[in-house]
């Protein structure tokens, strides 16, 4: 299994968005979500839509990739919007039945809510399609660093994250191997009731856990033999380099934020 396709999301490319510093991308994405929550009027929302479309265009990733992100959550989005539309009050009442009512204000709220969902999901999809899990892990490790002040074991957390990522394909291979071994002994994973199928996973999970513990132990010894000491500072081979394009992107983000604040005041 390809580690880069860990979440089935990464879309290899070399666009401007791909090359941006992953730390910047994460912070910008977080900031974008904050702005989405503060956008109430049409103008401020429109600004965010334009920003997102521009970023999508710059990422040169096929639109279907982004749509796939939204589609998975479509049920939740529609359900939430429906609740919002049926149970809000205010404005002209179009239809009423018991405590349910469709009102103009409710409809506006429902549409805004859906828009908010779309923006947040697509905004975060930009990161996952343009950034490899490895880069994300580096970015998380870098962004966690300030928490050292609170005596959080930041370096250990970063090491755990990177080892977890490293072993995903290995463990996946192991799952396939164990399932094949159990199939050879006559276990049928694809039929029977839900309960029966769940029971059939037990002879997969137990050897998997046993093997994982054995791996962990061997890995720990190997790491120690190579001089790893969790309590000592380490240098880092993989460095993130802040480029001019990152400063530029940051400037754009600041500019958009200022425009956003302006629009909010005007609205």
């Amino acid at each position: 299994m390809d580690n880069r396709a860990l979440f089935g999301m990464y879309f290899p490319g070399n666009s401007l968005i791909h090359r941006l510093d992953p730390r910047l991308k994460m912070v910008a994405c977080f900031w974008f979500v904050v702005l989405v929550f503060f956008a109430h009027g049409w103008a401020s929302n429109l600004l965010l839509i334009v920003l997102l479309l521009a970023v999508i265009r710059l990422s040169r990733v096929v639109f279907a990739k982004y749509w796939a992100g939204v589609r998975g959550l479509m049920g939740v989005i529609l359900f939430t919007a429906l609740i919002q539309a049926l149970f809000s009050s205010g404005g002209t009442v179009y239809w009423q039945w018991g405590i349910m009512a469709v009102t103009s204000a409710g409809l506006v709220q429902a549409v805004l809510l859906m828009l908010r969902f779309f923006l947040i999901i697509t905004g975060s999809t930009v990161i996952t399609v343009t950034t490899t899990p490895l880069e994300l892990a580096d970015a998380i490790a870098a962004l966690l660093k300030p928490l050292k002040v609170l005596h959080l074991p930041v370096n250990q957390l970063a090491m755990m994250l990177s080892i977890a990522l490293r072993f995903v394909p290995t463990i996946m291979n192991e799952v396939t191997m164990i399932m094949n071994a159990q199939r050879a002994r006559g276990v049928d994973f694809n039929s029977g009731s839900l309960l029966k199928r769940a029971k059939h996973l037990v002879p997969v999970l137990i050897p998997l856990f046993v093997a994982a513990f054995k791996r962990a132990e061997e890995l720990a010894v190997a790491m120690e033999a190579r001089g790893y000491d969790p309590n000592q500072p380490r240098t880092k081979y993989r460095q993130l380099h802040w480029q001019r394009r990152d400063s530029l992107a940051l400037a754009v983000l600041v500019f958009v934020t200022l425009a956003f604040i302006g629009l909010r005041i005007w609205e």
């Binding site: 990177s162 291979n173 190579r226 240098t235 081979y237």
Partner: protein
């Protein structure tokens, strides 16, 4: 030089001592193979030398450094260790990251790392795979990366704990030829724990462990030709030696100096040519 004196070691929760008053020395710049049956304590001995187990009774010194809690960091500067399972010692996300792991632990400046990594990968001929992820590599390639990871730290002693036992014949050949060329450079002391007669034949010396004691420390030729000993410790004679014995039994006078497959092939060719 590695010296073990009056080593006594018992695993926690076990009654019988694995080693009692074990003493041996491993000279510098030699390739020493340690053989013995399963449970004879070969791996344990390697781990004790590397300080990866609780400090035992007796003294172990590596190039003058005593192996104990206080000297672990300095000790790990001296030693490189390659383990059996290729997957469970691959820490980095890519080949280069994995080689860098030991350098990071030793706080080597990041600017200096690329050159060191390049050199280490070139030594094991893995340069083209620098950016490869572990799941793209074969077992033999992963073991060569592990070797590069150890070599990048310029150890004085390299310990291989059945490093080729999980590999297919091709991977085993790759790793062994890598080791043979490292030995040529003559700066490393290599300790290889093994069941593989081909690996034993490559060594300068063999230590035969049996029931926690050194049963024999001798040249591979003499150990491997001692049929009784070979059988007692669960080794198989290498193909060349078995063929030689079979030829001798048929009355072909194969010179005693011939011990490797290459020499035997050459000698046989010579014989066939001169007769034909």
């Amino acid at each position: 030089m590695i010296s073990v004196e009056k080593l006594t070691f018992t695993y926690p929760h076990q009654e019988a001592a694995l080693f009692e008053d074990l003493s041996l020395t491993i000279p510098d710049h030699q390739w020493v193979a340690i053989v013995g049956r399963n449970g004879s304590g070969k791996s344990t001995l390697a781990r004790l030398i590397a300080g990866l187990l609780p400090t035992p009774a007796g003294t172990i010194t590596v190039n003058g450094l005593p192996v104990d809690e206080d000297h672990l960091a300095a000790l790990h500067q001296q030693l490189g260790f390659v383990f059996q399972n290729p997957d469970n010692q691959f820490v980095g996300a890519t080949v280069a990251d994995d080689v860098a792991f030991g350098l990071e632990n030793r706080r080597v400046a990041p600017q200096k790392m690329p050159t060191i990594i390049e050199r280490a990968l070139a030594q094991v001929r893995m340069t083209p795979f620098k950016a490869a992820r572990p799941e793209e590599l074969s077992g033999g390639q992963k073991q060569r990366v592990a070797l590069a990871g150890a070599l990048a730290l310029k150890p004085a002693v390299l310990i291989l704990d059945e490093a080729t036992s999980m590999l297919d014949p091709q991977g085993r050949g790759e790793v062994l030829s890598q080791l043979a060329s490292l030995r040529q450079q003559g700066e490393l002391t290599i300790i290889s724990i093994t069941h593989d007669p081909a690996e034993v034949a490559l060594a300068d010396q063999v230590i035969v462990l049996d029931q926690g004691q050194v049963r024999r420390q001798d040249s591979p030729e003499r150990v491997l030709t001692d049929v009784a000993l070979v059988e007692a410790v669960g080794l198989v004679q290498p193909f060349a030696l078995r063929l030689k014995a079979a030829l001798q039994a048929q009355g072909v006078a194969v010179p005693a100096t011939i011990t490797t497959e290459g020499e035997l092939v050459q000698w046989l060719n010579q014989q066939l040519n001169t007769r034909g």
